[in-house]
């Protein structure tokens, strides 16, 4: 890591009454990178972001954003950040353009500059057609876009996106993802919270996994996946009755035990493509047609399960 981190978090503690929301969170985010803060509902993601965005004071610990202390120099932090919450915090009675102009003026732009910036952002966010409609009439995806756009009227150093795609349809989610990519390309540091493993995987340079108010793992997506074991090869014969026969033929490659009735099995693939080749040629020689055969790397779902002892989606449902 070169220079000072864009976000530095050290020993952050926060409790609400009896509930301990954060019990010592540490991480840092390098300038111009995307950090995914991954965890189930109630893990402490939003509390962490609230402290970093100066909305709440930590009980203990220290946090710097763009070099400014979030407690002692909150005003300077607020000048350097943009925050998007889980819901679209814009004025529903104003049009998209009026919202953008409002936020531009709040951040010190003059009327003309504000109008110019609003027009540019409406184009950039593909909202020009809806510019003069009230935000109350927007779809969920459009709202999220105008919400994010309102935070970019003046280019921030650090952007906090708290579950930016929660509740969005796949197309809108894709749109937000490409926005985040664009922010990174422009050199903006992004801290993204999500409970979607896929999202953290696709968007983040580094991932911090938190659970019950503490960091349980951090690293790149590849590093985290490594921790749950290597690549394996999944074998799916066309005819399920041939599964035991295929399993037998590949016994020397240490396949995982067969689950009765399963249409597939997996085996470790330390050799990667070479293992795949062996599997295919042997089964071909035995006349077993394959519906699918592929190298699988463990998903972040697997990582999450092994780190926290519970599945990410299961935690969401039980919360």
């Amino acid at each position: 890591m070169t220079g000072t981190p864009a976000v530095l978090v050290e020993g952050l503690h926060k409790r609400f009454g009896d509930h301990v929301a954060l019990s010592g969170v540490d991480f840092e985010v390098a300038p111009g990178t995307v950090l995914g803060l991954l965890g189930p509902n109630g893990a402490g993601k939003t509390t962490t972001v609230s402290i970093l965005a100066t909305l709440r004071r930590p009980d203990a610990g220290r946090a710097l954003v763009a070099g400014h202390n979030v407690v002692d120099d909150a005003a300077a932090v607020r000048r350097s950040i943009m925050l998007t919450g889980q819901y679209a915090a814009v004025d529903e009675l104003l049009t998209g353009r009026e919202n953008l102009e409002l936020f531009a003026r709040l951040l010190g732009a003059r009327k003309q500059e504000a109008a110019k910036r609003a027009a540019d952002l409406l184009d950039e966010f593909d909202l020009a057609d809806a510019a003069d409609r009230r935000v109350g009439t927007y779809s969920g995806g459009m709202r999220r876009r105008i919400d994010i756009a309102c935070g970019l009227v003046i280019k921030p150093a650090v952007v906090f996106l708290d579950e930016p795609t929660t509740g969005l349809d796949p197309r809108s989610r894709q749109h937000v993802w490409s926005l985040i990519g664009r922010l990174r390309d422009e050199g903006v540091t992004v801290l993204l919270t999500t409970q979607y493993l896929e999202e953290a995987d696709v968007l983040s340079d580094r991932i911090v996994v938190i659970d019950h108010g503490a960091v349980v793992a951090e690293g790149t997506s590849a590093q985290l996946k490594q921790r749950t074991g290597g690549t394996h090869c999944e074998v799916v014969p066309v005819e399920p009755r041939l599964v035991p026969r295929a399993h037998e033929l590949l016994a020397d490659l240490h396949p995982s035990p067969l689950t009765p009735g399963a249409d597939r099995f997996a085996l470790p693939a330390p050799g990667g493509v070479a293992t795949l080749g062996t599997v295919m040629s042997r089964l071909d020689a035995a006349g077993i047609d394959l519906a699918d055969v592929a190298l699988r790397r463990p998903s972040l779902d697997d990582v999450f399960l092994s780190l926290t002892g519970h599945a990410a989606s299961g935690a969401e449902q039980s919360a």
């Binding site: 909305l55 709440r56 005003a75 000048r79 819901y87 009675l93 409002l102 709040l106 010190g108 003059r110």
Partner: protein, 253 residues
């Protein structure tokens, strides 16, 4: 980066609230509510007042004005609850905007609403025979007392709205005191019209006391005690409600 300026932030946010009030129809509602309520009381009750030799428009208008100021308070509560629940309040706290600016911007929109209600009320009153019999001083006194009452109510409702969990419930909850203080006041019928046990409340509650002062100012019959009592109520409520609103707006969370 351009320097931020609290004055232009306040103007931008006030403009936003006023625009919202126009779009929601609230400002039209504010102007016509006192007209509707005035007519509703005036039509059935004026004959009775006539037989008693009272100019009922002169008698009734003060409480109609105060009721519309209570409605301004209710709108203030809903305005503040909308910001609190919609995430706007949170977002503004994460911006380089001084903590009190959003609240003061809402208050200026509330004050504009109060002025419109006052205009609507006085206009219908004039049509029905209400008149200012005193000089400019008493007209100014009437306007200032009515608006200070609205500001006090709006501070209280803004504080309540900022910790609300439901916008509609905030409005409905505030309807109850509005009805109670308007109906059980000496502004519509004199205290003798109430059962004996209710008369002390009807006579001494703040809406009655402030209505007495407004009526006295309009008719140019006011005495210092009436004005003092009305101002004491208003300033007392102003201090309590404004400090609650300021406290909640600047509270660390």
């Amino acid at each position: 980066m351009t320097a931020t300026n609290p004055g232009s932030q306040w103007r931008a946010l006030s403009g936003r609230s006023v625009l919202g009030g126009i779009r929601e129809g609230d400002l039209v509602f504010a102007t016509f509510t006192p007209v509707v309520f005035f007519v509703c009381f005036y039509v059935p009750l004026q004959n009775m007042a006539d037989t008693l030799g009272v100019n009922y428009a002169q008698y009734l208008l003060p409480v109609i004005v105060l009721q519309s100021m209570l409605f301004t308070g209710i709108a203030a509560g809903e305005r503040s609850a909308t910001d609190a629940l919609g995430g706007m309040a949170v977002r503004l706290r994460a911006l380089p905007v001084p903590r009190l600016i959003p609240m003061f911007a809402r208050m200026s929109a509330n004050l504009i609403r109060a002025v419109l209600s006052l205009i609507g009320g006085i206009a219908i009153g004039y049509l029905a025979g209400f008149r200012f019999h005193g000089g400019l001083g008493s007209i100014i006194g009437f306007v200032v007392i009515a608006l200070l009452f609205a500001v006090a109510m709006s501070f209280g409702a803004d504080a309540l709205g900022s910790i609300a969990t439901n916008r509609e419930a905030t409005g409905q909850m505030l309807m109850v005191p509005q009805l109670l203080f308007t109906m059980v006041s000496t502004g519509i019928v004199p205290a003798v019209g109430f059962p004996e046990w209710l008369q002390p409340f009807a006579r001494n509650q703040p809406v009655s006391k402030v209505a007495d002062a407004l009526r006295g100012l309009a008719s140019d019959t006011v005495d210092a005690t009436t004005i003092t009592i009305a101002l004491a109520w208003i300033l007392g409520m102003l201090v309590v409600f404004a400090s609650a609103a300021l406290h909640l707006a600047t509270k660390e969370r």
